[in-house]
Symmetry: C2
Subunit: 215 residues, 2 copies
DNA sequence: TAGATTGTTAATCGATTAACAATC
DNA sequence: TAGATTGTTAATCGATTAACAATC
């Protein structure tokens, strides 16, 4: 009986591709497909087939069958379990403006075991209200509630002037991973992970790609 | 006189870091700083100082001064010009739901030379209305308007069931770069660039990072 | 001058791709 | 069987980091 070897280092590049595989495979399953070959997958996703097989090998012990390819359902399950979609993680969000409210209503999170449990805003008008069933608290209660509910993930959708302060509150509340939509750099202690989701600059990078391709 | 050598290949990894530098440098400028050393920058951004210097060298011919570091204003200008923020690009958006409307009101785009000029939605109720000064057209006019206005960039914020069709319309309208927020895989011809912006899976990757760090 | 900092060359590391035997 | 496809080992490619001389 082969134990899953935790020692195997999963390449970062692989991890970033996993969600892409997952999305693709879920689509294929919806279309009624049962199996998929690494070649087909690679062509559709503009990747190299060997890379695909390697990626899948790291993440799942499901092996493909010559002539048939991989079983889609099994792959999906493997990737989901690898990414930790099985255990639910609680998330809080700071800033209930346009983007914040949109995220509160975004049901895709649940497919990844993510659950927004509380929202915060500095506007007293919003205090006590609910959006999409999630209660809005005063901004100054963030620390306390994060701690009490043992929340580890925070989303920042406040204006950039307020972002650093909110981030510091989150850290003091015990949050260990921050998803920052404010277009500003955050200074954070070492143990805290950050993901910058700078929408304008993402689009700018795409635009750059486009311009370079046109030459 | 040294001409800028167009032949120099800019590493992909560098390009993804440019927006991060830009954001950081703009913040520093706001704080009243004039110069910045690669060391300071590297520490704050959790990067290697040599990497920072190399990145900056590819993008700008502004050289740093020993003991002083780099002039922030010059660096910002160089990165902006490299990324093409100077020439304005028109953008259209398909799907004026929560996320779509939010993006329509997102003023950060202008800092990158990006300009949303038209919105589209299949809901006839919305036709002819304006959101944040941008007019909403019927979905079936997308092709025609994209062509007529020579728009090269499209944003997809429609439900995932509609995404492929909208994407195909965009391609037929001459669009060359698609920013896809619908959590679905798109099949597109080779010359068209896509960026998947799958919010749920981005957060899931962050969560994975968090869980792995906790071990 | 001494020290901080740059810019570049060389060494290392990690990720991608090519080649190919194994298998259904 | 023949052919498509897998999984693995070796070769290549690209990106990061270490070492260090040059400079203000």
């Amino acid at each position: 009986m082969t134990e899953f070897n935790e020692e195997v280092v999963v390449p970062k590049a692989t991890i970033t591709r996993l969600p892409v595989y997952l999305r693709y495979l879920r689509d294929k399953l919806d279309e009624g497909e049962e199996n998929i070959s690494s070649t087909t997958l690679a062509v559709d996703m503009r990747l190299n087939p060997v890379q695909v097989r390697k990626d899948l090998a790291v993440v799942s012990r499901v092996s493909g069958k010559p002539k048939l390819g991989f079983n889609i359902k099994q792959l999906i399950r493997s990737i989901e379990s690898f990414m930790g979609c099985d255990n639910v993680s609680d998330v809080l969000i700071a800033g209930v403006g346009g983007l914040g409210s949109t995220l509160l209503g975004y049901d895709e999170f649940s497919h990844y075991g993510l659950n927004i449990v509380a929202a915060f805003d500095s506007n007293p008008q919003l205090e006590g209200r609910q959006i999409h069933g999630i209660k809005i608290y005063a901004a100054n209660r963030l620390k306390e509630i994060a701690k009490a509910s043992n929340i580890k993930i925070g989303i920042i959708t406040v204006p950039k002037q307020a972002a650093q302060e909110v981030a510091s509150d989150m850290v003091q509340g015990g949050i260990k991973a921050i998803w920052n939509f404010a277009p500003t750099h955050l200074i954070l202690p070492k143990g805290v992970a950050v993901k910058y989701e700078d929408l304008a600059s993402s689009l700018a990078v795409l635009n750059k790609k486009l311009q370079d391709a046109a030459e």
